[in-house]
Assembly symmetry: C2
Homo-oligomer: 129 residues x 2
């Protein structure tokens, strides 16, 4: 299996194990020194134990579905549909996989809905929430 295929498989397994709360499987996918970052809040979590704890503790009934998965060498990008309780949002997740096929870096972007600025109504259509 080439690098890109290995990365694609790791990225899919990452989402599946989170969605299934399969913490033993998630553990096997992660490098010991995995780094997780959330640029919007400038938060960083270092190491597999802390990252697992962050996920097992995460509040709410959240669910993940892959809308898009791109793999390119040792990097992957995921566009996820996320449902948390009654709220739906999209997430963009960037993964790096190390030479052992383990996920070594995870970056989550959580773009939240907002109202469009005025002045471009003549160019756009809007779809329903």
């Amino acid at each position: 299996m080439d690098e890109t295929s290995e990365t694609r498989q790791a990225a899919l397994a990452y989402v599946e194990s989170l969605e299934n709360r399969d913490w033993p499987r998630l553990t096997t996918l992660l490098a010991d020194d995995v780094v997780y970052e959330m640029p919007q809040t400038r938060e960083r979590i270092r190491g597999r134990p802390a990252f697992l704890r962050f996920n097992t503790d995460y509040p709410g009934d959240w669910h993940l579905r892959v809308r898009r998965l791109l793999a390119d060498g040792r990097a992957a990008a995921l566009w996820l549909d996320v449902v948390v309780g009654a709220d739906a949002l999209e997430a963009c997740v960037w993964l790096d996989v190390d030479e052992h096929g383990l996920i070594s870096r995870i970056t989550d972007h959580w773009p939240e809905p907002y109202e469009p600025p005025p002045g471009r109504e003549h160019l756009v259509e809007r779809w329903s929430a």
Copy 2:
């Protein structure tokens, strides 16, 4: 050149032509019926003329720098550092390239900074803005 390489080249040229305000070059990269979407505001722009107008009219002194570019077949994902005046933010851009190598679909996510929820301080470190 294979599909993935063609897509990578189109994605890079897309960012370069936007950054350089090179509208003739940007025009050559886009399919006639390109669709541009901003899921956070649920806005959609259809067609090359409207999309060009959206960009030429976009207010502010904005600049784009590619932090990451992943290409995978006819799809690309870009993680951009965006500077608008004094503000810095990150964007996630998803591109589809058609069988002629032209960009047929563009989706922009604009994740904005926010304050982290309480309760996870023991797991995270924060970096400076």
